[in-house]
């Protein structure tokens, strides 16, 4: 068999792997299940693309984000892998059928966890030769599992039913606890390939603001002064949309919202506008980012408090991929931790509801999300006691993760040290290019992140005939 580097050259035209890629591939080639924890932008997809190229059979990729799947299929096609397809709940019936009928000819198949857990799908998959099972965004097993995607909890059992194919778990961030949990859920003892999560060129800043109004005006002020482009993260779709409009109208920037509520065409256009520097600011929910390769994002601002440091690390990781100075700013108003707390709780049934449901399952409406979740567990033979333990344990984990996040926000000392602690990493010594905890002011000039004065190009409205002609 040709060497990994020769394959890399042949398929992608690169002569060198990026760090982490080769280690992960070598581990897989040795037949070891592998957990690859590599930062966003490290080229995680290349690992399974190249593996799929080198081995006969189908690479099955389980991916939690529906909007992203078709992007990934397109990306594979762009790289010359035409036999790729995706099936999720949005796939039209006819399309689904035609994919299923040609399953044995596929080289890459993307599935949502929901699709994978359907018995018919499993039957079909048992008949084909799986060269590799990829669990993309594997941290979702922990972050989303019990609350949002119960199907992720079945992955271990599903993997058994598929005769334990060689498995690659991919994630950008996973602390010790998360690594342990991923391995446990998947019933595997993977080799771990990891790089430091630290991003030295991203300056870390936490700012305390008195209230919502102050936060808004601070955001506006920052957006006006920071170099662009940038991303502002929100917990709510509505607030992302409203703020994009408001910034566009008041801050002299081009801004757009990006969230899971947009249709595929709008998502495509906004994403492409951002990629081609036609947008200054994206106001996003966590739906944005996975799969976005943009090097020159100069800032990431969090308007709401993330639920844990892993999500936070993942989201600020969109900044500064080119290695140039960038900044991650978290705006915090007293009581901000209530929102992630409430979001977590709203997805979790009360102990009393669990008891009543297990006593009289028929008398509940299954279309309610919490009941749907309980029905899912019950249908899979999980006892009431186990479900109660599951939710209680989950609640403790979430509260712990959130308190770590709050610790970070309130830390009077080096933020980077706090952050990396959660990933069992030692931080380099603090210096002036490192961070500004909440008790210290942010000096944009000192960290070379003041916007260069630009004279805005006069807007010329070109007649449509000419704009049309430019397309062709």
């Amino acid at each position: 068999m040709e060497s990994l580097t020769a394959s890399l050259q042949r398929v992608f035209g690169f002569s060198q792997f990026r760090s982490g890629q080769e280690a992960a591939l070598t581990s897989l080639e040795a037949g070891k299940d592998t957990l690859a924890i590599l930062p966003t932008g490290a080229g995680k997809t290349l690992i399974y693309q190249l593996y799929g190229y080198r081995h006969p059979g189908c690479v099955l990729i389980v991916s939690p984000l529906l909007s992203l799947m078709n992007d990934q299929v397109d990306r594979l096609r762009m790289n010359g892998f035409k036999r790729a397809a995706a099936i999720n709940s949005l796939t039209p019936f006819g399309e689904r059928l035609s994919i299923l009928n040609h399953l044995d000819q596929l080289q890459f198949l993307f599935l949502s966890p929901e699709m994978l857990s359907q018995p018919q799908m499993l039957n079909q998959l048992q008949r084909i030769n799986l060269s590799l099972l990829v669990i993309d965004e594997a941290h979702c097993i922990v972050q989303w599992g019990p609350d949002f995607r119960p199907e992720y909890l079945l992955l271990g059992a599903i993997r058994d039913k598929l005769q334990r194919p060689l498995t690659l778990m991919l994630t950008a961030t996973a602390g010790k606890q998360t690594r342990h949990e991923i391995a446990k859920q998947l019933r595997s003892t993977p080799a771990v390939v990891t790089e430091s999560v630290n991003r030295p060129n991203i300056f870390l800043d936490v700012e305390n603001v008195a209230d919502e109004a102050t936060k808004q005006s601070r955001l506006q002020d920052l957006v006006k002064r920071l170099p662009r482009p940038g991303v502002v993260y929100f917990s709510s779709k509505q607030q992302a949309s409203d703020t994009a409009l408001w910034l566009q109208q008041t801050a002299g920037v081009t801004a757009a919202a990006y969230h899971a509520g947009l249709d595929a065409e709008d998502r495509f256009k906004i994403q492409q506008q951002f990629m081609t520097d036609k947008l200054d600011i994206i106001c996003a929910t966590s739906a944005f980012g996975m799969g976005i390769d943009k090097d020159n994002v100069r800032f990431v601002i969090h308007y709401h408090l993330p639920a844990d440091l892993e999500s936070y690390a993942q989201e600020i990781g969109r900044a500064g991929r080119d290695g140039a100075p960038s900044v991650a700013i978290l705006l915090y108003a007293p009581g901000d931790e209530q929102l992630p707390l409430a979001l977590g709780q709203s997805n979790r049934p009360e102990a009393e509801t669990i008891q009543r449901y297990y006593a009289h399952p028929q008398s509940f409406a299954a279309d309610e999300p919490q009941i749907h979740l309980l029905a899912f567990y019950r249908d899979h033979g999980i006892s009431q006691a186990a479900v109660e333990r599951l939710f209680a344990g989950r609640e403790r984990e979430r509260n712990h993760a959130l308190s770590q996040m709050v610790d970070y926000v309130q830390s009077p000392t080096c933020l980077r040290e706090k952050w990396l602690q959660a990933f069992d990493e030692a931080a380099p010594a603090h210096d002036e290019a490192c961070c500004a905890p909440s008790n210290q002011p942010l000096d944009l000039a000192a960290i070379h992140l003041l916007q260069q004065a630009v004279t805005p190009a006069p807007i010329q409205k070109v007649p449509w005939q000419e704009r049309l002609a430019r397309l062709f």
Partner: protein, 346 residues
């Protein structure tokens, strides 16, 4: 859809049923929806907003009520524009699509998808871009565009397409041409979203959509010419606005079939045959329906003497008992459609 958009679909002279407007937009083609859609002159709306939720017009209705622009009947079923509403609406310059009489003949959403992807593929091809992200569309659109492009690509495609699109868009209001151009995705142009176009032109989203439908319909109609570069891609989307089973029923009846015999032969119920015929009568020009056979002159004469006044006020149950005994509701409704077609040339 906002208050002003909905207001455009209402009248001060006619009560209009909310459910009919909603079902038209959602593409629910019952005979009753089609009949009233025709009465309201709103059939072009058919299928334009498939994702509209049930009750999706409620906010717009509330808004209109708060402005005193409409009155709602006691049963909350129909809307009528007030004098204040008429004045209010007249103050908004509202877009009047120019191709609207074509709309029922096209699946405009499918045509738009194909057009956008074809423009992107051709634009990138013209600039020799080997790697780019194609617009996210359904598999059927991808298949159709791939097949079209395979046959159409060549050194002249881009300039032919540019010429053809320019010729089509020139026939439309300038702002519509401009909006159509801005939504296209292609080389160095990601394209603008509906919301961005609405914001940039200070128009409601629904008006932008009307302009897009207008542009798509114009281009699709021009692509009817076999020399048009998009002919093979768009012409297959032309369709009779009548379902294939209704067309089959209509053909059988036109060939001289008695309705019951047609029902027996097609193994469908007589009531289904009648529904098919009503659908065809509503959706097709008066010359394309065998009124002479199904609604002979003597029958028309009987109805003419029995019903009076405004068509909307006719009631089957108000007919003399003898007539009700002789003619089913089907003939009454068909007569109304025929009369309507006399008033409004198709």
């Amino acid at each position: 859809m906002e208050a002003v958009d909905l207001g455009q679909l209402l009248s001060s002279k006619q009560d209009r049923r909310i459910r009919v407007i909603e079902n038209l937009l959602r593409g629910k083609k019952t005979v009753s929806t089609l009949y009233w859609g025709q009465r309201y002159h709103l059939l072009p709306l058919l299928n334009l907003s498939k994702h509209l939720a049930r009750g999706g017009l409620d906010t717009a209705i509330q808004d209109l009520q708060q402005r005193d622009w409409v009155t709602v009947d006691a049963e909350q079923k129909t809307l009528r524009l007030t004098a204040k509403g008429e004045v209010g609406l007249a103050q908004h310059a509202y877009y009047r699509p120019v191709t609207v009489d074509q709309w029922v003949n096209w699946d405009l959403n499918a045509a738009r998808q194909r057009l956008l992807l074809a423009v992107q593929v051709t634009s990138q091809f013209a600039h020799s871009t080997a790697r780019y992200y194609p617009l996210a569309t359904d598999q059927e659109t991808r298949r159709a565009v791939r097949q079209w492009f395979h046959g159409a690509k060549g050194p002249a495609l881009a300039s032919d397409l540019a010429t053809a699109l320019t010729a089509s868009l020139r026939q439309l209001p300038n702002e519509t041409a401009s909006i159509m151009t801005d939504q296209f995705t292609g080389f160095d142009q990601p394209g603008l979203t509906l919301e961005q176009l609405a914001l940039a032109t200070d128009q409601a989203i629904w008006q932008i959509r009307l302009r897009e439908f207008d542009g798509v319909a114009q281009i699709a109609r021009d692509a009817w010419q076999t020399t048009h570069p998009l002919h093979n891609l768009l012409a297959p989307l032309w369709r009779l606005p009548v379902s294939t089973s209704s067309q089959a029923t209509l053909a059988a009846v036109t060939a001289g079939g008695d309705l019951q015999r047609v029902a027996d032969r097609r193994k469908i119920k007589l009531s289904t045959v009648r529904e098919h015929l009503l659908e065809a009568a509503i959706m097709l020009p008066v010359t394309d329906f065998p009124y002479e056979l199904v609604l002979p002159p003597a029958m028309r004469e009987a109805f003419r003497t029995a019903v009076h006044g405004d068509l909307d006020s006719w009631q089957y149950v108000a007919l003399p008992q003898a007539m009700q005994a002789e003619y089913d509701f089907f003939y009454f409704r068909l007569y109304a459609i025929w009369r309507m077609k006399q008033e409004v040339p198709a």
